[in-house]
Subunit: 200 residues, 2 copies
DNA sequence: GCGAATTTTGCACTGATGCAATATTGCACG
DNA sequence: CGTGCAATATTGCATCAGTGCAAAATTCGC
């Protein structure tokens, strides 16, 4: 149980994961998500169907594999924000701090294209965002100093998820990461302004 | 294609639906959701397994069958709010107006108990709330007069869903509908106040 | 090479869905 | 009344998604 097994093993696992992810994205773009079976992906990646689910928990999960790493990063960035910041500000900054890592991910353009094209994937991202929210709740409750089951941290986390989700759905990938950044900023501005109708 | 078929047919369908719902709730409470198969439910209700999915789209969906009717009601209540009300206020009032129907539903107490007891069900309610949000987006975009893909209505709908979800999760059913009402009020107060830290 | 740890795989089973066949019900007409 | 037609509900079947479990294969450290 020595934390990280040998570098060799780690590398092979990473390769398999990447092969599955690449095959999934490629096939999804070619034929549409619903026309691709897990078996198709696995044949392309030369592994058995069962193995796929050792790496991803759903057929579509290969598309947002970044969520795992990024949500961890978001959580630690939030925990690192100074305690004098109001909660919503801390959340906003933490998200700002995490966005560069999002931008550094390979293939976000193709992924966003898939999300825009097939609405059935939207429900999947909801679940992904929801899992991040669950992490944030605990950190927020700790930060604010109230029981974990309280309304306020629950609402804060959910609202943050809403901001990201609304921004991501609205986002046109042609506008690049800057465009996404701007939408997230707008969303947080709306939240901070009590969601009153915009001037425009 | 005469809209509502004969009353006879309608009645039998309602009976089957109710039988499935009752069987599901009873068995879930007795053995826990994961220990009950769709087949178990169907044997108890004397129909085939396939029929279950003609009525509900997932095993757990029988628990929040009310969502279908209530979300329609919420949508129409929102559409009925006067146009001079700020969007968030209209949403809040619409939800207030819908809550009595929620209270009138049979068995919400048992259902909430199930939700509290088994966390795996929480992800299911997310999907249900998400579907309501999708309805609200269109109505809100229409009301505000901006394109359906805009950020603001998306965010409004998502935030409203967040408010309900946070309130519902936090809710202790012993406090009755009044308790839920109070939590929803609090959640909307938070949203209207820009989610700034509460005085307490 | 050997033993231990870990990864991969096969298998059985449940959840979920589309499709086509079947059964049931309502209704009109003789 | 009852008989047949049309609408609709139910069911079986095939298939895919997803998961736990245990056997098998692979790799690591020695």
């Amino acid at each position: 149980m020595q934390g990280a097994t040998t570098g060799h093993r780690e590398r092979k696992k990473a390769e398999t994961r990447e092969a599955l992810r690449a095959a999934a994205i490629r096939l999804f773009l070619e034929h549409g998500p619903s026309a691709v079976t897990v078996n198709d992906i696995c044949e392309a990646a030369r592994v058995s169907a069962r193995t796929f689910f050792n790496y991803f928990e759903s057929k579509e999960a290969a598309l947002f594999a970044w969520d795992q790493r990024l949500s961890d990063e978001l959580a630690s960035k939030l925990a690192a924000r100074p305690s004098y910041e109001p909660p919503l500000t801390a959340l906003r900054r933490a998200m700002d701090d995490t966005l560069p890592s999002f931008a550094a991910q390979t293939g976000w353009h193709a992924r966003k294209k898939l999300f825009s094209a097939s609405p059935e994937l939207r429900t999947k991202i909801v679940n992904a965002v929801f899992r991040v929210e669950a992490m944030l709740v605990d950190i927020l409750a700790d930060r604010i100093g109230c029981p974990a089951g309280s309304l306020y941290p629950q609402l804060l986390a959910a609202a943050t998820g809403s901001a990201f989700r609304a921004a991501f759905i609205t986002w046109k990938p042609e506008t690049g990461i800057k465009g996404l950044q701007a939408l997230i900023d707008q969303a947080f501005d709306h939240l901070a302004a009590g969601l009153s109708a915009p001037a425009s």
